[in-house]
């Protein structure tokens, strides 16, 4: 029997769903305090913290839900949660 190589479904990407609209508090990254340890990037449940050329974390606010986990766990207190202005 020939085995098909096609997909049985061709779903769209969850990226269509911009969860940033859920946010009540917004993480603000204070680069001067950041040691580029990478902790925030490892733990963000949204996987929405990237990295710029200097190795500093850059959140994607299109998807950040503002859960505050990165700010809570940052060993250098380099992230502050601020009330979101809408």
């Amino acid at each position: 029997m020939a085995i098909g190589t096609g997909c049985t479904a061709r779903p769209g990407k969850s990226r269509n769903n911009k969860t940033g609209s859920w946010r009540v508090f917004r993480p603000e990254f204070i680069n001067e305090k950041c040691t580029s340890c990478g902790m925030c990037r490892i733990i963000c449940p949204e996987g929405c913290i990237g990295e710029n050329e200097e190795g500093l974390p850059v959140p994607d606010y299109d998807y950040c839900k503002g859960c505050g986990l990165c700010a809570e766990e940052c060993p250098s207190e380099a992230i502050e949660m601020k009330k979101e202005e809408k």
Binding site: K13, T19, I42, G47, E51, Y63, K65, E72
Partner: protein, 298 residues
């Protein structure tokens, strides 16, 4: 922004609660296992929040099974890959309800038959997606909607089932427990499991802010406290023998319990000494069984 590194295999835009450990776990699993992975996933929060029709957060082939047959579907995928001479890794994912209770029959069968796949249970200690019903993984005295604390009950009346030991007894070559509070350790264990031939099992502690009653920012802190109090032990077993254990300077169980609404009844209107002593005894038993205590020199 460096999309490549941040999230390609498990993508943003999923609908988990803010601070969800299961979402963290999904990303860490794929980071560790890599793109040549096929995932079989039973119903539950992780499946629901990652695949709202017609979209998906999974960047690898992903199959939704029933609760009952997750491991049977994974077994079939493994057999088919073998016949085709393909080398992809197969991972079956299930919540604790799916794993400890409803999928147990097929899980036991697949492990006994010895299929080459990795089963990962993300353990949030109740059926969360349907509104916090107790499972075989719910800890002693936790209040859930089917084990509510009240005038005649202190919450869940049974201790957590020891599933890692049960699966090790099937002859599994590699069994490990992990926690999302220690991501590099968890990733190392996933890598080891997928690269070990035969059926391997990982149970990852995944604190659930919504079901346990704490703020989403505390997910990692709560996970750490479970380990620091000895109520959760991170260990590895190879061929039935415990080969590695995370040791701690133990804290009293109160430190873990007090921050969660599911244990609130143990502290209000006043501290329930008798019940908390029983939970402390569970932690003490873990400490002896696994030798987790670090004794500080005075």
């Amino acid at each position: 922004m460096n999309d490549e590194a941040a999230c390609v295999l498990f993508d943003s835009g999923h609908r988990a609660c803010g601070g969800c450990a299961a979402a963290m776990a999904a990303r860490l699993i794929l980071d560790a296992a890599g793109k040549d992975t096929i995932v079989v996933s039973s119903t539950g929060c992780m499946e629901v929040f990652s695949t709202p029709y017609p979209e998906t957060a999974w960047g690898v082939p992903w199959i939704h099974s029933l609760f009952e047959n997750n491991s049977a579907v994974a077994s079939g995928v493994v057999a088919s890959l073998k016949k085709q001479g393909r080398k992809e890794k197969v991972i079956a994912l299930g919540g604790d309800g799916a794993t400890f209770d409803i999928g147990m029959l097929c899980l036991s069968g697949a492990f006994e038959r010895g299929h080459d796949f990795t089963y990962i249970c993300y353990d949030n200690e109740a059926y969360m997606n349907t509104g916090i019903q107790r499972s075989g993984a719910t800890p002693y005295d936790a209040s859930t909607t089917t084990s509510p604390a009240g005038s005649c009950s202190f919450g869940n009346s049974r201790p957590k089932k020891d599933l890692p030991m049960i699966l090790a007894a099937h002859g599994a070559p590699y069994v490990a427990t992990a926690s999302i509070a220690y991501p590099p350790d968890f990733k190392k264990k996933v890598e080891k499991a997928v690269n070990t031939p035969g059926p391997c099992y990982i149970q990852v502690h995944a604190p659930c802010c919504t079901g346990w009653g704490f703020e989403g920012e505390k997910t990692v802190a709560i996970g750490k406290l479970a380990i620091e109090t000895g109520l959760w032990v991170n260990y590895e077993m190879e061929n039935g023998v415990v080969t590695k254990v995370k040791k701690v300077v133990r804290k009293p169980v109160d430190d873990y319990l007090v921050g969660q609404k599911r244990f609130r009844h143990l502290f209000k209107p006043k501290r329930n000494d008798a019940e908390i002593a029983k939970i402390q005894a569970l932690a003490d038993r873990n400490a002896v069984k696994f030798g987790i205590d670090i004794t500080l020199k005075k």
